[in-house]
Symmetry: C2
Subunit: 287 residues, 2 copies
Amino acid sequence: MRQMHFADALTARVKNTSPVCVGLDPVLEKLPDGVQRNETGVRDFCIGIIDATKDIASCIKPQLAYFELLGWEGMRVFWDVCAYAKEQGLIVIADAKRGDIGSTCDAYADAYLHAGSPIDAITVNAYLGSDGVNPFIERCAKNEKGIFVLVKTSNPSSGDLQDLPVGDEAVHEHLAGLVASWAMHQVGSESNFSCIGAVVGATYPEELRYLRTLMPLSPFLIPGYGAQGGIAQDVKHGFMPDGSGAIVNASRSILYASAGTDWRDAAHAAAAAMQTDLQAALHSEIA
Amino acid sequence: MRQMHFADALTARVKNTSPVCVGLDPVLEKLPDGVQRNETGVRDFCIGIIDATKDIASCIKPQLAYFELLGWEGMRVFWDVCAYAKEQGLIVIADAKRGDIGSTCDAYADAYLHAGSPIDAITVNAYLGSDGVNPFIERCAKNEKGIFVLVKTSNPSSGDLQDLPVGDEAVHEHLAGLVASWAMHQVGSESNFSCIGAVVGATYPEELRYLRTLMPLSPFLIPGYGAQGGIAQDVKHGFMPDGSGAIVNASRSILYASAGTDWRDAAHAAAAAMQTDLQAALHSEIA
């Protein structure tokens, strides 16, 4: 099967569904009624969430930490869940936040972005600079994959390093300049977006607005909507004027919308409400 | 079994052996003659390296990337290798470079630093700021574990973000100040070192010297010796005047000291040569 450029595939999928990205953060203690609190339960739960949201969501974002917490058995579930999501037509983004020296990033890039991997893109931490990012960029070009570089994260203390002033810009703005330069060489012919994206949190709307101008070719992965406090009026600043160029992640507000046996219906309803909420905000932006 | 404070255990072990830390970066293509190029071979190779170096090395540092590259089967080998190294009396440092928002770092911290884990410490990426580090610090206090926060890494492009000027200091120096403040509350009664350590590359000796003064309570994990170009005269700046307070990692120069069937002997000889080299440099420093 011929692969599409990552950003072209992402853009087409968002157009046909929505910018909703469902984050898979399966926590044993939070699994709803009727789901086993073990690896089998996590697998069932993730597949149930995928089935419940796949007609709405463009992307699914499994968070590695929750699978690693279950040991190697959890990693087996992780790969099974990624394969299932891919079969269902979802764009699969592994939230790995990996970053290391070049030779080690070669291993990470081959681990997650090899040809034939069910994973379409991973998140990358660039604290080690360009030679920790280049191996991922190479695999993007070679295997039609994507990355989302952490630029400005959604958590309360993200400013500890990311907002430090470097001359007249913040560290995260300087990094945005690097991301923009990496993105230039990897642009899809249909979408005009790059396979080198950026993570920018919904919880910092002013930064989101400015970073959109600094990285015009990068798709944005916007976490922080829902449980972390970001709202649609905040995240709309991460989109291009035509409503393209971003996906918005919600995890807890969809996964745990109900603690009862109606969790599938509740997840579907939460994803649908998020889709409506985002569309209204984006429509008001375009209008 | 009562656990010792991480820094006390590390300091005692270094005193009884050496500051040598053996990095386990098992690459299938580089496995020596007679070792199967699959998960079984990786397990045999890692156990062989542990046995060959355990009378010299204080620490063993498996790099997660190379195990993740082998899928979930690789993660099973990773946990087996960590358990074996721990049984042999080595301090086990998982080179994970994890870092995320607080709730996700809770999962990473529980995954690797739970009570009874064979892993004594992991490496942490602090780009997300203090609330991505706190969950690890909590597990250090609760379970007698340690962390090494990436401050100044050994790779050529580490300066892209880490050396950006923030007022009259570099980003990595500002982070060193944060690490020093975290370290203050977690000091071992025997060693006078904290369980909150720092990663500082051997390849930047001037920075290493200055960072030693900024983080006097933190054990240093110094990568970059050997294949990456760091020499003993460089790394000695990461030690305290009495020769304590640091471990020096070498991976490729020990693991792949021979491509033949004598790889165990060659690894032992390489570790012994490194021990001698470090002792000579540290002795010249003390003298």
